[in-house]
Symmetry: C2
Subunit: 566 residues, 2 copies
């Protein structure tokens, strides 16, 4: 067992355990949870959300870490449950500001390493391996990793033991009895904790709306095999580039069907190489074809793993769909399998890509509800959530990873189950839950929120800027410009008016003339005091023109007056 900061003195057992969700409760993504005991903190996960279309020009959203910034020196370590973006994506931004060792399982750390390398942060980072059966002591926290199945390998729950009791943080999970890597969920360790007594369970709510049990990853094998058997051309399978289970299944099937395998797309290629080197993806050397050689393989002998299942515009599959990929194009008789969930918000892009593939004569297989499935979820359904509760029998229960309705339904599910839970709490990000000998209660809030990042520059995109973009994006912008003589206070030239995203003013000279006249009149009717304050003059021009455009055109563009003293 590794002991972190060995000089730490265990505080008295009468201390309080505080659990502080910094993201992921009442919202989907950017999972991040702080645990505090005796003045010390650990953080579990550090994820992003991919932004809505309404966040204009924003590439990624990370949690506000004001709380961690203000807790400087108290953070002992960050623990990662697995390597998905909504659990690790914010690490580069957080580690840029906050110094702490990061614990994760081997594949999780491999993904973190390539992410930190891109951000130039690898050398200054302290990454440490987290292994099942080998707990880490961090101050008053003893953290044990418990392997659970999920759509990514090396994923699991954390048992966090403190003097106040043991809390289980589920991570993302399903109970897949037949995972591709034969590493089933560690039910026994869960049961052991359940027998010893669990203070609280924080559990994944993603699939709480689905009844029954999520099918095993193995369920996609049948359909992929069918497609490989029937296709008269190439078979392209697109899945998330972290779905090693899926990639392994397809690699195995390719071999069985006498096809060579090729990984197309940067993330697909990189991750498959990393996983192969780690021995976590079993592909014989002779089976693999380099991307640049895929054209040399006869179509009926080719099987391609392609990134871009969400229709991302620059991804390999999106480029293939419009004949803009260097090495691959789609031909009649080819089969394309979108072996992934259609994430809400991405429908348009995905279906547009599929239409391009269809137009080129390919058959497209996607998650349309038909059986056998081309995709299965990595999150447990209701019966699995019930099994988790039944195994652990926690005294307190808190649903996490979900929007409010999902947390609420998970809460109801737990309350309906007679698993001995004394109380279930519905927390949203920022709500502090406090445990001590007297029980558990919500107690206060910490600052939380969303920080919008422009990946190109790594800059934060503030609310002000977003509001300006939103305003302009709906009605356009009009810039009236006045050159005013600084000595006489008179106009030196006719006011200039330019606009964008608005009625093209070049084609509306009448309108421009009227607007100019109104600007002149506004200036002339201003008294000396008003003229002495350009801010006042600008305000008057702004409101005059806004009223004018509204009356004339029914439009309300942003009006941005500029005064130039000459």
């Amino acid at each position: 067992m590794e002991v972190l900061r060995g000089d730490f003195a265990i505080p008295s057992t009468t201390g309080k355990l505080r659990v502080i969700p910094l993201g992921g409760l009442g919202e989907f993504g950017m999972n991040m949870m702080a645990y505090e005991y005796g003045g010390h903190l650990i953080v579990v996960d550090c994820g992003v959300i991919f932004p809505d279309a309404e966040l204009l020009g924003v590439d990624v959203v990370i949690p506000d870490i004001t709380f961690l910034r203000e807790s400087e020196g108290r953070l002992l370590a960050i623990f990662l449950t697995h390597g998905h973006e909504d659990h690790i994506g914010a690490l580069p931004y957080v580690l840029d500001e906050i110094d702490a060792p990061v614990y994760g399982t081997p594949f999780t750390l491999a993904l973190v390493r390539s992410k930190l390398t891109e951000h130039g942060l690898l050398e200054t980072s302290d990454l440490r391996e987290l292994r099942a059966g080998d707990p880490v002591q961090a101050g008053p926290f003893r953290i044990e990793f418990i392997h659970l199945t999920h759509s990514i390998i090396d994923s699991g729950a954390l048992a966090i033991t403190t003097p106040a009791g043991t809390v289980i943080h589920s991570g993302d999970f399903k109970f897949d009895p037949t995972p591709t890597d034969r590493r089933a969920s560690d039910l026994h360790t869960l049961a052991k904790y359940g027998a010893q007594g669990v203070l609280a369970l924080f559990s994944d709510s993603t699939n709480v709306e689905r009844s029954g049990i999520t099918p095993s990853e193995r369920a996609v094998r049948e359909r992929l095999s069918e497609v490989l058997a029937e296709s008269k051309g190439r078979v392209l399978v697109s899945c998330f580039a972290t779905s090693l289970h899926r990639m392994q299944i397809f690699a195995d099937l390719a071999r069985e069907h006498g096809r060579r395998l090729c990984c197309i797309g940067r993330s697909m290629y990189q991750n498959s190489e990393i996983a192969r080197q780690m021995g976590r993806l079993q592909i014989e050397e002779g089976l693999l074809v380099a991307p640049q050689d895929v054209r040399k393989i006869p179509p009926q002998q080719a099987a391609l793993l392609v990134s871009g299942s969400q229709g991302e515009p620059m991804s390999a599959l999106a480029r293939i769909a419009v004949d803009r990929h260097r090495w691959v194009s789609v031909q009649p008789d080819d089969d394309v399998v979108i072996s992934a969930r259609i994430i809400p918000g991405n429908e348009k892009a995905i279906f547009r890509m599929m239409d391009h593939l269809y137009r080129r004569g390919a058959r497209v297989h996607y998650d349309d509800g038909s059986h056998p499935p081309v995709h299965v979820s990595g999150h447990g359904s209701q019966e699995e959530l019930r099994l988790m509760l039944s195994l652990l029998r926690p005294k307190y229960f808190v649903p996490m990873h979900g929007e409010y309705r999902q947390l609420r339904r998970h809460l109801e599910l737990a309350n309906d189950l007679a698993a001995g839970t004394q109380q279930a709490f519905l927390l949203e990000s920022g709500d502090v839950l406090e445990f001590d000998e007297a029980g558990a209660r919500k107690n206060g809030r910490v600052p939380v929120g969303r920080v919008c990042i422009d990946v190109g520059t790594l800059d934060e995109v503030g609310d002000l800027i977003l509001n300006e973009r939103r305003k302009i994006s709906v009605e356009g912008i009009v810039v009236p410009i006045l050159a005013i003589n600084k000595h006489t206070g008179e106009l030196e030239a006719s006011p200039e008016i330019v606009s964008r995203g608005f009625v093209p003013l070049e084609e509306a000279q009448d309108l421009v003339e009227k607007a100019r006249a109104m600007i002149r009149e506004t200036l002339e009717t201003s008294n000396v005091e008003e003229k002495g304050d350009w801010g006042v003059v600008k305000d008057k021009i702004r409101s005059t023109l806004r009223r004018f455009f509204d009356q004339e055109l029914g439009k309300r563009p942003m009006v941005l007056p500029v005064i130039l003293e000459v």
Copy 2:
């Protein structure tokens, strides 16, 4: 039988029938199809699409009607299959330009009337009733309405008989054997045409991805009844305000459960009144409560039909969810049923609204795949599409109403079915299909496309404006302003730089100073010829500043230089 333009001379039977899809083939919505024979035209349906988020500031999208404009005087009439927005929504825009009588069934015309009234076009419009069993002769076209079931009443297919043969235009349909209004689909008339011989079928592809048969509208009764029985508070049901079937079921159940009914929201109230007056919605006077009186009814005796199932920001349900409705707020113990499909693109708004309702303590029921369902589709699934083909046995088949993948799958479904179809065509909007004695073939294209409308002004929002908005919405706009002496060609003052949706320049004085220096330098290094052409100077400043912001900040805002001659 009504005969339109009786002076029309039937052309020789050797004429060609041309079918010209103006919208709805290869895209979802804005359904519009022209049929041309002997130089005469009819149009079937006239719908809109609701725009993607990427169409900034656009409220509604209608088909480009250049073809109809260029066919002036040749259009005999517009026929409507039913009253949904994707079939009638573009009428006010089309009738504003093009004069033609409009045929529709009574409820369809009632909806059209209220729409045209809003646009001030009712008086100049010529609306005529279309009745099953009472065909209309319009020039060489004989149009018979065939009643079919759908989520809206008074919906059906059109049998269009021409000298070249009979074409069936399906409209939207399902084969519901137990519709609420007891008016089942007219299978016999379909069979009669099938027996006589159908030249071509144009059929709805919306649900081609669903296997089996779409459940009857009646299937929602069980779940709604359960909710009404179990709720200890008020029951709010939100559905489309044109779903008279759904509204009738809920009204009947409200009475059975001893609750009074109230229609909340403008469209829900208006449509229920229209339908009651037409005798198409049976609600006893004593059962109804006026919206302003709903507070006087004890919660357990109240049943509310509320518009806003898609989370539209100004809708009744969205306002109720945030306590901003005049007469209704939600209390703990209330039940809210979203009895509608969650339309892709609306998820965020709908789930956000649901979260607000949950936070106020309401139970929310929605289309989460659980049984019995709270919603069923109005479109037929695969077996119903097969039944349509089997009944009609068309010589030629064309899938319509769907994106490319759906048309393709419908084509495959038809080809797999041994229903005697000689050939199936995959057309997209604009593709002309021609029929004559020699057969059928694609022959040419007509101009089609999307016209973006700003509903506030009824103006078209052009591509240029949309591109400008898109550009600014992602990176913001920077406006450098130069006051130049028209006699000397020299700067009269330091260049001014304003920006919006971009780094706030007020907080970046260094950057502004550097940018100003670059502008001055650009001007100084320009030769006399360049300075004589402000267009050239602007271009140089634009490219200089774009390079500058890209290098300094990694950003590429729109740069809009303005030169003021003083």
